[in-house]
Each structure stands twice: as structure tokens, then as C-alpha cells.
């Protein structure tokens, strides 16, 4: 089993943070992990990518161009990930493809804060990985609680995570 996850958004959207949680939980469950960030000079505003591989064998090389899971959280990120093969194909070739544009209504209806979008997507990816027995939803929630519960907007983040678990996607 080898799963290649590419998370893409703007700097400041929390791409690296959610990648960290997924990596930590999968590692704790005994999987081989490689995780590398990719970003430019700018701390905020530039494109921020995270390449995450979860495997039950040693990982040869940390970069890839055919992700099984692709998250696109911004227009810039969309443009940058086009070059990755299959990125513009409809879901099907990719096991899971999440595009922020498909969730505008959901965010509106449920009053999800912009700052919590990443946590919402973390939830969706968590569900996907939980179905594959790579990690447990509770594991991610615990890590999330540890990381964010003392910070502002915790209730909003919690809401976004819980909503994602209920969404059928």
C-alpha cells in the first residue's frame, strides 16, 4: 500500500498544519511516512504545497506527480497543481479530489469561518484514511484538540471538523 497525498493552498491557509496531523497519526500507527513542504519566499500569499506519502514499505523518494489524494484550497494552488498528471481529470482517476470551489455552498449554509476551511478538509481526508484503516477519526481529533483547543476560534474549528464527518463526500 502506498498513498500519495498532495495538499495545496495559499500560504497561511494551514496546509502544512493539517499535513502534520495526518502524518503524525499515520506514523503513530506504524506506517512509513515521508512529508515535505514546498513553498516560496513569502510566508503568506504564495502557494504552499505539502507532499505526504503514507506507505507500509520504506519510501524511496518523497516527491511525486501522481497523487491519489489531491486537495486544492485556492486558485493559485489550482494553477500550480495542473502540471501534476491527472490533476485536471475528474474524480475517478484520483481516489479523492477535493476542490474548495465545490464547497462554497456548504461553508455558507453552515457559517464556516474562512480560518477553519483547512480543518474542514482535514476532516474529509481523515474520513477517507479511516475507511482505509490507516488512522482513526478520534486520533486526529485528539491531535487537533491538543494543537488548537487553547487558541482562538477553537469552537469554530471543532464545528468545521464535526461538519466534515457528517458530509457525504
Amino acid at each position: 500500500m502506498i498513498l500519495k497525498i498532495l495538499l495545496a493552498g495559499d500560504g497561511g491557509q494551514g496546509i502544512q498544519s493539517i499535513s502534520d496531523l495526518l502524518a503524525q497519526a499515520s506514523f503513530a500507527n506504524g506506517f512509513f511516512i515521508s512529508q515535505i513542504p514546498n513553498y516560496g519566499l513569502e510566508q503568506r500569499g504564495g502557494v504552499s504545497l505539502s507532499f505526504l506519502i503514507i506507505s507500509d514499505e520504506e519510501i524511496a523518494y518523497p516527491r511525486f506527480s501522481e497523487p491519489n489524494v489531491l486537495l486544492i484550497m485556492s486558485e493559485q494552488a489550482d494553477a500550480r497543481t495542473k502540471k501534476f498528471k491527472n490533476a485536471d481529470l475528474p474524480t475517478g482517476r484520483q481516489d479523492l479530489k477535493l476542490d474548495i470551489n465545490d464547497f462554497v455552498e456548504v461553508f455558507k449554509e453552515n457559517n464556516i469561518l474562512k480560518q477553519s476551511y483547512n480543518i474542514f478538509f482535514l476532516g474529509l481526508i481523515t474520513k477517507f484514511l479511516a475507511d482505509k484503516n490507516i488512522l482513526k477519526t478520534e486520533q486526529i481529533f485528539e491531535l487537533l484538540e491538543k494543537k488548537l483547543s487553547k487558541k482562538t476560534n477553537w469552537e469554530e474549528n471543532k464545528k468545521a471538523f464535526e461538519l466534515s464527518l457528517k458530509i457525504n463526500k
Partner: protein, 343 residues
């Protein structure tokens, strides 16, 4: 399968290697992708100084090692250029100068995380003959091991030692069991005795004096090169094409060779672990039989490794060369396989 593996970043492994090597002080100026080596070292509580720039950091390392301290620095890109000043002094005075270089894209500020474009700078960047030890790790584990090795070889042989890595390896997180790695340390010692007056110049009045010093250093270099030079070599006995790469690209090439073999292509793998001294004998020896028809050099630069390979390969060996070069870009396993299959 987890056992005692810890989930660590490459930069954490470097800091741990420096601690385990009994390094005493770090001088540096932060630049991506090596900032976390400086901040990580400061967090250990060991002595450190963030100097006003990399030139100062380089000479601070020279001063500290003269006083017998295991000192080191870390940098990349434009910072690596500025450090060449101190590294040249270390090369001239035979100082055990240790530096971890995180290559980033160039020229100039380029990009901040990855490339293999600082090979020439690391190997031959000074105003001298390039007598510096240059190690190029392919994996997180090797990053740790070669950092330990750099301190040991620097203090044993008294040449500057450069761990030439990149932001992929430094920023990558992976599982590793450090408890299984056992390396003995070469202790630091005072290079100038306190009770003696020593004239130890880095500048000479007579051209003959300088020439004599260079020749002496070269003689030492030639003697220590065979035991230090190392390569990882696989699947060469019946290989028809030889894939050469260094650093993290080597890791991708190794996997590509495995997969090419499965589809019946007779590919071999040669990865210099030390770029200086280059494992020349190991490479030449692969051509004792005449199975190898072609060398393919694969790198994230427009030919810096290829230049070294062509220069080091014995001139009487006639073999064709091809190149897969992606300056400033990572090279993936699948791309390598496609390239070989389409050539």
C-alpha cells in the same frame, strides 16, 4: 514495524548528529533551508552566535577550531557563497571546518528549498585547489551518519568538511531509529599549544613558500583520498547502462533501477557518497569488463555532477554519455524510468 523509530525532520537529525559528534559551538546566519539547524542548535542550550553575516560566521568557525573547539556552521545559496571566504582560509590553513550546506535554487536567491546547483561551489568554490571533503547524503539516515562522519574526518585529516544536502532532506520528516547507529567520535584537540608561539600564516611572502604548502596539502589529500572516497554501487555486474546520481536524486535513481530491472532492462546504479574525493577507482573498476555501453548522469542541475564524472573517469575508458538534467527541480522515479525507456 515501528519499534524504536522516531518521527524526525532532517534538520533535527543534523542537530542531533552535531550533538552526538560532541560539537561545542555553532556560528551562523539564518537562511532557508538551514534556519532550523541554527534555531534547533540554539534550543539545545549549547553555545552559539548569530553573527552579522555569513562571512563573520565562517571566520568565527576558523577561530574556534584554532582554539580547539568543535565548531560548525550551516547555510545555503547566497550564504554558502559568503562562507567560501572562511572555507578558503580553512582549506589554506588545514582547519577542521565543518559546514552543513542546504542547497537551494540559484543563481542568487533563486528558490528556497531545493536544487543540486551548489556542487561546484562546495567542491571548488574557494580560491584554491578544492581540497575539501564533500559528502552528499541520499537519505535521512545518511544525513545523520555523514554529518557525524564530517566532524570525524575534519578533525582526523584537517580538511574542511562539507555535508552537501538540500531542503528536501532537511525539511522532510521520516521515521528513523538512531539507536542502531554506532559511530565513534574523533576528539577535538588544541591546534595551537597555549605555551608556544607558533607562526601559522594564511598569507605568504614568497611564492615558493605558498607553492610548497599547496604541494604538501595535495600530497596529504592524495594519500587520504582512497580510504575516504565512497560510493553506493548496485546491479553493475551485467549492466549495459550505468545510472549516476548523487544526493536525494540518488534515492530516486536507486528505486528506478530496481523497477527497470523488473522490466528486463539491464541498468546499474552508481552513487558517489563523497563528491570530493570522488570514488574514482570504484567507477573505473566497473569498466574492467566491457558490459557497460553507456553512462547516464541524472541531476537537478545543468551538468555540475556530469562535469565531475567526465573529469574523473579514466581517459582510456570509452563510453557514451547521456544526461537527464532538471536544474532546480526534483526528479521523480517515474520520470527516470520514462527517460531510460525512451532512450
Amino acid at each position: 514495524m515501528n519499534n524504536n523509530r522516531k518521527f524526525l525532520y532532517g534538520h533535527e537529525l543534523v542537530v542531533q548528529a552535531c550533538l552526538d559528534a560532541e560539537a561545542e559551538v555553532m556560528y551562523g546566519y539564518p537562511i532557508t533551508p538551514t534556519c532550523e539547524i541554527l534555531s534547533g542548535w540554539i534550543a539545545t542550550g549549547k553555545p552559539s552566535l548569530q553573527t552579522e553575516d555569513e562571512i563573520a560566521a565562517g571566520f568565527a568557525v576558523c577561530g574556534a577550531v584554532l582554539a580547539g573547539q568543535k565548531a560548525f556552521t550551516a547555510s545555503g545559496g547566497p550564504g554558502h557563497i559568503l562562507l567560501q571566504d572562511g572555507m578558503s582560509m580553512a582549506e589554506g590553513m588545514r582547519l577542521p571546518f565543518v559546514i552543513i550546506v542546504g542547497q537551494r535554487g540559484g543563481p542568487s536567491s533563486g528558490t528556497v528549498i531545493y536544487s543540486q546547483q551548489e556542487v561546484m561551489l562546495a567542491c571548488f568554490g574557494g580560491n584554491g585547489e578544492g581540497l575539501r571533503l564533500v559528502y552528499s547524503p541520499a537519505t535521512s539516515r545518511e544525513l545523520y551518519e555523514l554529518t557525524r562522519q564530517a566532524f570525524n574526518d575534519a578533525w582526523q585529516y584537517r580538511f574542511p568538511a562539507i555535508v552537501l544536502t538540500d531542503g528536501y532532506l532537511l525539511k522532510m520528516r521520516s521515521g528513523i531509529n538512531l539507536a542502531e547507529i554506532k559511530i565513534e567520535n574523533v576528539p577535538a584537540h588544541q591546534l595551537v599549544p597555549e605555551d608556544k608561539i607558533v607562526h601559522w600564516p594564511n598569507i605568504y611572502t614568497m611564492e615558493e613558500e605558498l607553492n610548497e604548502q599547496i604541494n604538501l596539502a595535495q600530497k596529504d589529500w592524495d594519500e587520504i583520498s582512497p580510504p575516504i572516497a565512497k560510493a553506493e554501487i548496485l546491479e553493475t555486474a551485467d549492466a549495459e547502462i550505468l545510472l549516476i546520481a548523487h544526493g536525494i536524486v540518488g534515492a530516486a535513481v536507486k528505486e528506478a533501477v530496481k523497477q527497470l530491472r523488473k522490466s528486463g532492462i539491464k541498468a546499474g546504479y552508481f552513487r558517489p557518497i563523497t563528491l570530493r574525493p570522488f570514488p574514482k577507482k570504484d567507477l573505473d573498476n566497473l569498466f574492467m569488463k566491457d558490459n557497460l555501453k553507456k553512462i547516464i548522469v541524472i541531476e537537478s542541475s545543468s551538468g555540475q555532477l556530469a562535469r565531475i564524472v567526465r573529469e574523473q573517469l579514466a581517459p582510456e575508458i570509452a563510453v557514451g554519455f547521456e544526461y537527464l538534467q532538471k536544474p532546480g527541480l526534483g526528479i521523480e522515479v517515474e520520470e527516470i524510468i520514462d527517460f531510460i525507456k525512451n532512450n
